[in-house]
Symmetry: C2
Subunit: 454 residues, 2 copies
């Protein structure tokens, strides 16, 4: 066989021990908080039937699905005519029946519908697994990355929204990250669009509002007019675009503006109630109503959440919202849910760049025995076993090679202690314990050794 230069597919990553420890620190924190709030874990297969995935992420999303070639004669069902037509999309649909998970939401919806008779509603699940997208790889964007989702399905209560805010606050407090938690409500946006006479232009209006900080008021007006909204209607938006102050002031202003639309009134009531809940608690992070928040607008029907880091300029590190009909596509109607997703890769980048990882996340053994030779080896192996029985992670250098090489190994692996046992130590039933950080060394008994390493 020809010798190959090994590499990995673009957009994917190997994770070494040090990175895994740090990533696990993030995953474990999120898991800990999810479980504290009564969310239970779920895991779904890496691939789903393509019929489950296709059409759920829009046309662009469909293109980004990784499809798995059918086993055996994958052209069996393809006629010569179909083959020569080279209709890529059609052919892909015949030669592939499965696709890699694109997100955790659709598999969750599929799971809920498939198991609706066994599931206890309201169903609170969290899921921390990788997803795959055939996106063009670039800085911070990968073809394989983890999502960390929690959703509750089958409950309309705004207590769920409160607890989502509490979970977000707790996760970032535990990670020692300062964030801004922004909340919006799709119904308020719908009320605004209705109030200015363009209910069907909800998305255009929100996209434009979203750009105010970047392009300024005049350009926003211009963009809205280009989208076909009359100048009079555009001007009506002014109080919304200038909305500021405390939450009570914002709500008052909204009541004046959209209080007469039914959907707007519903949205205001929801926001009012949610902030009433929120105001009964103290949070480590700032929470604000942000009407420019348009995240996942084709999808969310009530509350919308987005979290940004105050430590570093970057896209959102967490987001989510309420959806009223997630499971409808699979035939289960009328089940409302609300969920969030933490972006582990972005959180990692922020923590790495701002030095927020604790020093002790690295997984290395506490001590390494130097291997002097066959005679000394067994003496060390017996003590090594005692250490392990005493919950101390430790290893022996397996080969009898020059001490310098063995010390380099311990040093490179950042092992804090090295244990040496030669003729003298064995005669005294002791070992020499060398502290690799401070450089000093001591002859100690087995009891002293265990005490020091524990």
């Amino acid at each position: 066989m020809a010798i190959q230069t090994p590499g990995i597919p673009k957009g994917t990553r190997d994770f070494s021990s040090e990175i895994i420890s740090k990533r696990n620190y993030i995953f474990e924190t999120i898991k800990f908080v999810y479980q504290k709030f009564g969310y239970s874990p779920l895991e779904t297969p890496a691939f789903e039937n393509l019929s489950t995935l296709t059409g759920k992420y829009g046309e662009e999303g469909d293109k980004l699905l990784f499809k798995i070639l059918n086993s055996g004669d994958f052209l069996k069902e393809v006629s010569p005519e179909e083959l020569s037509q080279r209709n890529i999309n059609k052919l892909a649909g015949i030669v592939c029946e499965k696709g890699l998970r694109y997100d955790l939401t659709v598999p969750f919806a599929r799971y809920v519908v498939q198991n609706q008779n066994q599931i206890i509603f309201p169903f609170k699940r969290y899921q921390i697994q990788p997803v795959w997208r055939a996106d063009r790889p670039q800085k911070g964007r990968y073809r394989e990355f983890y999502q960390c989702d929690a959703d509750i399905i089958g409950s309309d209560s705004l207590i769920n929204e409160l607890e989502i805010v509490q979970m977000i606050d707790m996760v970032f407090a535990k990670l020692d990250m300062s964030v801004n938690i922004k909340i919006n409500n799709r119904k308020i946006l719908a009320g605004i669009a209705e109030r200015i006479g363009y209910p069907e232009k909800l998305t255009d209006i929100t996209v434009a509002i979203d750009k105010i900080d970047k392009i300024g008021l005049d350009k926003v007006y211009e963009e809205l007019m280009q989208k076909g909204i009359e100048e009079n209607s555009v001007k009506l938006l002014e109080p919304i675009l200038n909305l500021s102050g405390k939450i009570t002031e914002k709500i008052q202003c909204l009541e004046k503006f959209i209080g007469e639309t039914e959907i707007g009134t519903q949205g205001i009531a929801e926001i009012q109630k949610l902030f009433n809940y929120i105001n009964n608690f103290t949070f480590k992070n700032n929470i604000e109503l942000d009407l420019t928040l348009a995240r996942g607008l084709n999808y969310y029907t009530g509350a919308i959440f987005e979290v940004t880091s105050n430590d570093m300029l970057m896209g959102s590190v967490c987001g989510g919202g309420r959806y009223d009909n997630l499971t409808g596509i699979f035939g289960l109607e009328g089940v409302s849910g609300v969920g969030i997703s933490f972006g582990a890769d972005r959180i990692f980048d922020v923590m790495e760049n701002t030095g927020k990882f604790p020093k002790n996340t690295n997984i290395s053994v506490k001590a390494m025995f130097v291997n002097f030779g066959e005679k000394e080896e067994m003496y060390c192996l017996k003590i090594l076993q005692k250490l392990r029985e005493n919950s101390i992670d430790a290893e022996i250098y397996p080969d009898i090679v020059k001490m310098k090489k063995q010390m380099k190994y311990a040093n490179d692996k950042k092992i804090p202690f090295v244990i040496l046992a030669g003729e003298n130590e064995i005669a005294e039933n002791k070992v020499t314990l060398k502290n690799m950080i401070e450089g000093n060394q001591d002859k100690v008994s087995l009891e002293e050794l265990i005490m020091t390493l524990k």
Copy 2:
């Protein structure tokens, strides 16, 4: 969109909370032991370049690789002639550049070669990740399953083999499973084949020896002769086939039989040394030299390990061995390694069938607050936060529905305590705590509540 009946691809599984807790119990035990012995985690991408995977698992293995269709115009490079020829294997190689991970060994070898200048040798890594095989699904065989591997690469020392036996013993002791740890050595098998004059028939001989318990001595003789080994040579095997007794007796017998072959002498020396190490320690499980062990014979070059359950008849629950040239296929020669892999699915089945899982693996909250209405809700939410601050996982039923429905939820989710707070409790600044297992209930203060739940 038409409504779909949701399902998952055959051979895959969803894992619910209860199963995940049990599986994690196995994974965490294995991880704990690996780390105790100085192995560090590695994670590789779900898919590799097909050039990395193809040709590494034999012709059968190649057929079982899940291939990922190239994005975009996957037929771009295919000429009309190639298309009309319908050469499935050739076409698959053009329209697919990536494949799902088939095991953890080849990605590990690829990683080592790719990062050989950064890696500290001897390199001890463990890897616990899913792999995918397009095998025909059947009871206990899945298309997506986890492997739990540990390997040390770049060390010839038999201390590594000792520690592998120690790790196996510790894992199963911790899991409360009784197992039989069988050890063999490829060099001894090669010595036997050479001694009877058929060095090239090593595999046939071992496969036949392997069947002794099932088909008996005469049938084994018959099979060997069918494979083209002369009767005289076959009869020479008798002392090997009847090998029994203590390890020292077995080794003596082997010395007589294959002591004159060079490879056999090497194998005996290795086994002798390994059992010298082993005899210096006590183990919870039986360890034996088993010459019928032929696992992965095309692959292993020294020690071979296999572990079977004593509690339940089943294939091996763990296996491994030493290989001298794993990384050669990727251009790094002369690096010897030894590794093992635990079969988490089989271990799960044994533990489930013999009731070995601890009772407390299930992840559920400790307590649920009943939601009586808007007035009582906030009182409960405040106490709920106090519980969570005191490390108690707890939840509130989010919706204001009939108490019966709420109690059913707590009951179905096996939540051990339910907390009720109505007008009376609020007036007294207390709650009623109901023990769902014993059925009794008490009015308690917040301090008493925390004390009971902790």
